[in-house]
């Protein structure tokens, strides 16, 4: 998929000189320098499947980012935007990515259309999750934001805004495909559609999001195990075929549903989201989950202390007795149950306290903030954590500091 980008870039570059005289270019950027450290080496905190994330050894890389954006405005109707962001992806490397690259058409006063690389608005802050300066926390509550690991959409979206008195409604459907590279393979989304609807009224904002990605992950398949399960005659193991289906991500249709509210009157900030992820197969690897968080912050001049409580609940059983425990299939039963217990996310709660402090702007830095955040995570089994080792007691204390700015 990424190999198609050079073609788009060449086409855009070739078209530019002819229109350059009339084009209005604007440049901007954002950056986060962050350090985080926990009190354990037995589990890592990070985005789902991210290898080598935050542990006792500390990490500068997991939350640090540098983003640059160029927008070319051709006229009142057409513009093109490219945004490159360097960050640590799910392969564990801090490297540049083409996060956004799209052409935008303002079709009418109330409707705009975009085509290209976009970030899907799966959750309330999904599309701006990297812009630390715009956000309250050091990182979004991972219980909710880890429900869906794929963010980038190659496709089209539309935004329609309507105003009814002081109520502003925004409807944002999107459609396309996506992919995410993991340390262990690739997760491809061959078909992805979604809709986000936002209502603004004064200090209030409410949002409902729905998205349905179809996952193709042949390179992630645990083929030998599912092949073995499917080869067993139904007379020996009636439930083996259904266990194999729950171990197969390839072809899974995931549904993400989410509802969020935000209240910001200048002094008080409240944000809360509930999210649910359901999948029609592969549930032992990507289990059905529900998660929610609530954040309250209070501004005192440039200083805003905030507190967050978040929780994740797994909706899928942690073991199966579909495979006979004794006899010839005993070993397979053990292997499959070990995998179910450790592969997908499990229940987790977290409690966070932090402060966000606005610094005066200086030179080319148009705005800057520093944040300090303490998280206490309480996980069942592996929780929502990465790289969990035997002996982990489910408790993680984490300290993070970040410096975010825009230019």
């Amino acid at each position: 998929m990424s190999s198609r980008f050079p073609l788009i870039a060449i086409a855009v570059a070739a078209a530019l000189p002819t229109v350059a005289s009339a084009v209005d270019f604007s440049y901007s950027g954002f950056s986060t320098a962050a350090y985080s450290q926990t009190d354990t080496d037995l589990a890592d905190v990070g985005y789902s499947s991210q290898p080598d994330s935050i542990d006792k050894g500390g990490s500068f890389e997991i939350d640090s980012k540098l983003g640059l954006q160029v927008t070319a405005k051709f006229d009142e109707m057409f513009s093109a935007t490219v945004q490159g962001v360097a960050y640590t992806d799910l392969t564990g490397d801090w490297e540049p990515h083409l996060d956004w690259a799209y052409v935008r058409v303002q079709a009418t006063q109330s409707t705009s259309l975009r085509a290209g690389y976009l970030r899907a608005p799966t959750f309330m802050y999904s599309d701006s999750v990297f812009v630390g300066y715009a956000n309250v926390w050091v990182r979004p509550p991972l219980e909710v934001y880890n429900l869906s690991p794929v963010y980038q959409l190659l496709g089209v979206d539309a935004t329609y805004r309507a105003q009814f008195g002081n109520v502003i409604v925004s409807v944002n459907p999107y459609f396309g495909e996506g992919e995410v590279k993991l340390g262990t393979g690739e997760l491809e989304v061959s078909e992805w559609l979604g809709l986000a609807t936002t209502v603004n009224y004064g200090s209030f904002q409410a949002r409902i999001g729905y998205s349905r990605p179809k996952i193709d992950a042949s390179s992630l398949s645990i083929g030998p195990m599912t092949d073995a399960l499917l080869a067993i005659p139904a007379s020996m193991c009636g439930g083996c075929a259904s266990v194999a289906e729950k171990l197969t991500i390839d072809g899974a249709r995931i549904e993400n549903f989410n509802i969020g509210v935000q209240y910001d009157d200048g002094a008080n900030f409240i944000a809360s989201e509930f999210g649910e992820a359901r999948s029609d197969q592969g549930g032992y690897l990507l289990p059905d989950r529900r998660a929610a968080y609530a954040t309250y912050g209070r501004r005192f001049g440039n200083l805003m202390p905030y507190a967050t409580i978040a929780g994740l609940r797994r909706q899928e059983a942690l073991s199966t007795n579909a495979i006979p425990a004794g006899g010839a299939l005993g070993a397979l039963n053990t292997t499959v149950n070990d995998l179910i217990r450790t592969a997908g996310a499990n229940d987790q709660d977290s409690y966070s306290l932090g402060v966000r402090y606005e610094l005066p702007s200086f030179s080319i830095v148009r705005g800057a903030v520093v944040k300090f955040q303490y998280d206490h995570i309480d996980a069942d089994g592996r929780g929502n954590l990465n790289n969990v080792q035997p002996g982990f007691d489910g408790k993680v204390n984490m300290f993070s500091a970040s410096f975010d700015f825009i230019f």
């Binding site: 604007s26 901007s28 954002f30 983003g67 954006q69 927008t71 009142e76 935007t81 945004q83 956004w100 799209y102 935008r104 006063q109 109330s110 975009r114 976009l118 970030r119 599309d127 701006s128 990297f130 812009v131 300066y133 715009a134 956000n135 935004t159 805004r161 105003q163 002081n166 502003i168 603004n200 004064g202 200090s203 910001d264 009157d265 200048g266 501004r299 440039n302 606005e358 702007s361 148009r366 705005g367 825009i406």
Partner: protein, 140 residues
């Protein structure tokens, strides 16, 4: 005794003058059909919740420099947010392609000239700067 009275009344006059000159006025082009705007309508524009005037026509927003006191006063009074909070909101909109921040101009005179020359324009200036080249639609 008499001189004290004079000083006091002078003080009162000075204070009145200071508060009068601190009044922020939202201005639009004289061709704009809106006779008045509410603080909510102005806030929706300056916080990026809408990009159009209540009649559905496009709006081009002007801002004052960050160093100018009027910018903070405007955002506090019109939107209930500080100028820094508004800036964080615009950062979110800019980097998600949902909006373009208001054009930052240098002074009351520049904002007035910008608004006078563009039928879509909206800006805010000190009340003392308002003249016939623009239309005042909201006093804050």
């Amino acid at each position: 005794m008499r001189s004290l009275k004079t000083i006091l009344s002078l003080c009162a006059l000075t204070l009145a003058a200071a508060s009068a000159s601190a009044e922020v006025v939202v201005i639009v082009n004289p061709k704009n059909p809106a006779a008045a705007l509410t603080a909510e309508q102005v806030a929706a524009l300056y916080l990026g919740n809408t990009s159009t005037f209540p009649d559905g026509s496009a709006a081009a927003l002007a801002d004052q420099p960050e160093s100018a006191g009027i910018r903070g006063t405007f955002y506090e009074k019109a939107t209930g947010r500080s100028a820094a909070q508004a800036k964080a909101t615009w950062a979110r909109l800019t980097f998600t392609g949902k909006g373009t921040p208001p054009k930052e101009l240098k002074s009351d005179a520049d904002v007035k000239a910008f608004v006078a020359s563009d039928p879509k324009a909206i800006g805010y200036v000190d009340s003392s700067a308002v003249d016939g080249s623009v239309k005042a639609v909201l006093k804050l």
